[in-house]
Symmetry: C2
Subunit: 106 residues, 2 copies
């Protein structure tokens, strides 16, 4: 596989609850999702606040979230924009994202 321009995103109707829960069960991924709830970010801005992490590690977490259907990752010029698939998640799993975002973050 080589630098595919458009990364694959699963259809809303096929999203699996267990995949979503797993993707959200990692503290750093969950923290990112909380930030994405306030608006899209470019990949570089998805770095955990405070610590720098290698690009490949960040990309791996984005992949996990994307393949679970939690985020969308689309090219935009030379960068990529990462956004929460909020409506899709609300449609498929009503109330789930709201509950997760409302929960104590620690």
């Amino acid at each position: 596989m080589s630098g595919a321009r458009d990364l694959p995103h699963p259809d809303t109707a096929t999203l699996l609850l267990t995949d979503v829960l797993f993707a959200l069960s990692d503290p750093s991924r969950l923290a990112l999702v909380r930030r994405l709830a306030q608006g899209p970010l470019e990949v570089a801005a998805c770095q955990p606040t405070g610590g720098e992490v290698p690009k490949s590690t960040l990309s791996h977490h984005l992949k996990t979230l994307r393949e679970a259907g939690v985020i969308r990752n689309v090219p935009e010029g030379r960068q990529r924009y990462v956004s929460l698939r909020r409506q899709d998640l609300d449609e498929r799993f009503p109330g789930l994202l709201d509950a997760v975002l409302a929960a104590p973050s620690q």
Copy 2:
């Protein structure tokens, strides 16, 4: 550690969202939680419907759920009763369990 009569259960106020999400992210554990939503079960009845699994495997999954704070596992005579910590979860993570239970199971 030897056959402790009363297994440890985390306090409601200390439950971590990521631990709960992780515990629920396994299909067989999630299926069990759905069944527990209808009432407590003895451990033997926690077997996945259809396939038999070794006692040790089942016990391991129960431990994961218990340590995350999702279930309670209490001795009752010679058996143990497993139940959902529904109120505790609702108190700590309002709406989460409802959303999970309402979600499509596949």
